[in-house]
């Protein structure tokens, strides 16, 4: 990690640490809510991949856009969302970001530039590219980041929109979170050849980065965002990362596709929060006690938000027919 910048950017680093801790804490609580049957539906944990969302989103402005995935809580937190409204949404409550109409897989937070999570694998690639086209056409210098997993690289839509993004030099960054498994299948079994080479075939500059190293991710993203704002996009980044949980909560017995040893190794040696915390302490940016205080504070915040959400009211059933069509006028 880059020692030279450490002292000048300590505030940014501490925020990155806090944001990663917030994601981990959010997911721990979401996992518990789900396992204790307090949360309905389907949910997919982002734990383990925090450095990707935080490294990227910390390089973005509020007005920059992201599109997210079914494994989207991390992107949502990293782009600035609040715990209370997120937990309310997860529990289908009226105060949720989408008034309980979206749930875990569809949280949208347009005030922070989050155009929403998408439960169709690869479904948001057009949307992200269109947001970039919109920005370019309307003379805004917004950049859009399209998050998707390795599984989505098998979808045809990706190649159609990368082709157009390259032709039209759109300010979009395709961020492929390669967590090594698409659902219950190893990426080697689903992706032929190189993933980055596919983007390069369109003349798109492509990069591979350690997705567990928040600073590496952030440094690269800052450079690419700046270039994209100048009209040098699009870009493609493959972020090598790992999810600690199964494909979804409830995907418990997963030894048929990956070993417990492998999972233990990533958690013990490559955890993005632990490693970044060690670096912060080594560089003298924060003491272990200070980091522990951050973790405790975030944990308490999350617990309070969960309590709030559990007690919050459901939307009135009369809302079921609301928001099918936007009002005109």
């Amino acid at each position: 990690m880059n020692t030279a910048k450490a002292r000048t950017n300590s505030e940014d680093y501490l925020r990155m640490y806090r944001q990663m801790v917030r994601i981990r804490s959010f997911e721990d609580n979401a996992n518990q809510l789900y396992l204790s049957a307090k949360m309905p539906g389907l949910t997919h944990m982002y734990s383990g991949e925090e450095a990707v969302a935080v490294g990227i989103c910390e390089a973005l402005r509020v007005t920059d856009k992201i599109t997210s995935t079914h494994r989207g809580h991390g992107h949502c937190v990293a782009k600035g969302a609040e715990f209370r409204q997120m937990f309310c949404e997860l529990l289908g409550k009226e105060e949720g970001y989408c008034r309980g109409k979206g749930g875990s897989m569809h949280i949208a937070d347009q005030a922070n530039g989050n155009l929403g999570a998408n439960a169709i694998v690869g479904g948001s690639m057009g949307i992200a590219t269109g947001a970039a086209l919109s920005a370019k056409r309307l003379g805004r210098d917004d950049v859009t980041v399209c998050f998707f997993g390795d599984g989505a690289t098998a979808q045809g839509l990706m190649y159609e929109v990368m082709n157009m993004a390259a032709l039209w030099k759109l300010p979009v960054i395709y961020a492929c979170e390669n967590n090594l498994y698409g659902e219950y299948t190893k990426v080697e079994e689903t992706a032929a050849g190189s993933i980055t080479a596919r983007a390069e075939a369109f003349g798109i500059e492509a990069f591979t980065v350690d997705g567990q190293d928040v600073l590496a991710v952030n440094d690269l993203t800052q450079k690419l965002v700046a270039r994209a704002r100048k009209g040098e996009g699009p870009f493609f980044v493959e972020l090598m990362t790992y999810r600690y949980h199964g494909h979804h909560v409830g995907d418990i017995n997963r030894e048929y596709y990956r070993s417990k040893e492998e999972e233990a190794d990533w958690k013990a040696n490559r955890d993005p929060i632990t490693n970044f915390g060690k670096w912060l302490a080594t560089e003298g940016i924060a003491t272990d006690a200070e980091l522990e205080a951050i973790r405790a504070e975030v944990k308490a915040d999350a617990a309070a938000a969960v309590d709030y959400a559990l007690a919050a009211k459901y939307p009135d059933t009369s809302e079921v027919g609301m928001h099918v069509y936007a009002a005109n006028g």
């Binding site: 970001y97 309980g100 949208a108 992200a128 970039a132 086209l133 920005a135 157009m164 069509y325 936007a326």
Partner: protein
Amino acid sequence: MRDITLSKAVNEAIAEEMRRDPTIFLIGEDVAEAGTPFKVLSGLVEEFGPERIIDTPIAEPGFMGIAVGAAMTGSRPIVDLMFGDFLFLVMDQLCNQAAKTHYMSGGKLNVPLVLRTNLGATRRSAAQHSQSLHALVAHIPGLKVAMPSSAYEAKGLMKTAIRDNNPVVIFEDKLMYNDKSPVPEGEYLIPFGQANIKREGTDITLIGTSSMVQVAERAAELLAAEGISAEVIDPRTIVPLDEETILRSVRKTSRAIVIDEGHQSYGITGEIASRIMEKAFYHLDGPVIRMGAMDVPVPFSPALEDVTVPTPEGVAENARRLMRGEMFHAA
């Protein structure tokens, strides 16, 4: 009032709206210099430039998805889908994304886009370029569906569609592009959900959409010569549907035939017939008759293709049978 083609009417509507609102752009295959195969968009790129009349590669799901994202972020795209048959290619972006975004976001995100495409058989274009697939999208909540029946409607509905804050799919009848009809010089809009009573009558209600409005009108002329007074109703938009105008008419006439160029089974005719049955049952003096396209892929041979769609003669014959009180199907 002057007579212009439906094609010209669409072109005018888009040009007028683009002059009014710089956030509007048009995207699709060969929409710029080529002006589409039907030449509907000719001249637009000269006025608005390639930044706003955007030619794409042949990648319908791609440019449809791009339009959805643009619509969510302050633009008002008009997507040109060269043939209605290509709807199947864009279904995820249209139905899973565009149609649901406003709802899934609890009303936070809007998708103000227009998907303009076409319908209509008897152009000898065979099974993959002749379908009338409006029922498919009318089935999806969150989408509005407009079906102009003449140049006048094509212009007024297109302008309303462009200003709507929702995804609107507008189906033009590709056989009517060169049909001329009176269109006012001045600006006008046609509100959605407002049916047009094309012809008043007292004996039977003929409800026709798009191309089938003309068919219904011609059938009404045939019937008038025989002393049967048919009322012809053009719903103009099928989502939203002006149910009241239809029901009022049927309560008056007691008889109805619904004519639409989509396949008859599970289609628009069934939907409208069903609403009439539910809401005007005790005013019916006979079964509500559906007349859609035959449930076959559209054949190429003119001899075969011509028998797949409703005709004025067929409508008139069914109307006569209704008037005679004949059983359409044995009890």
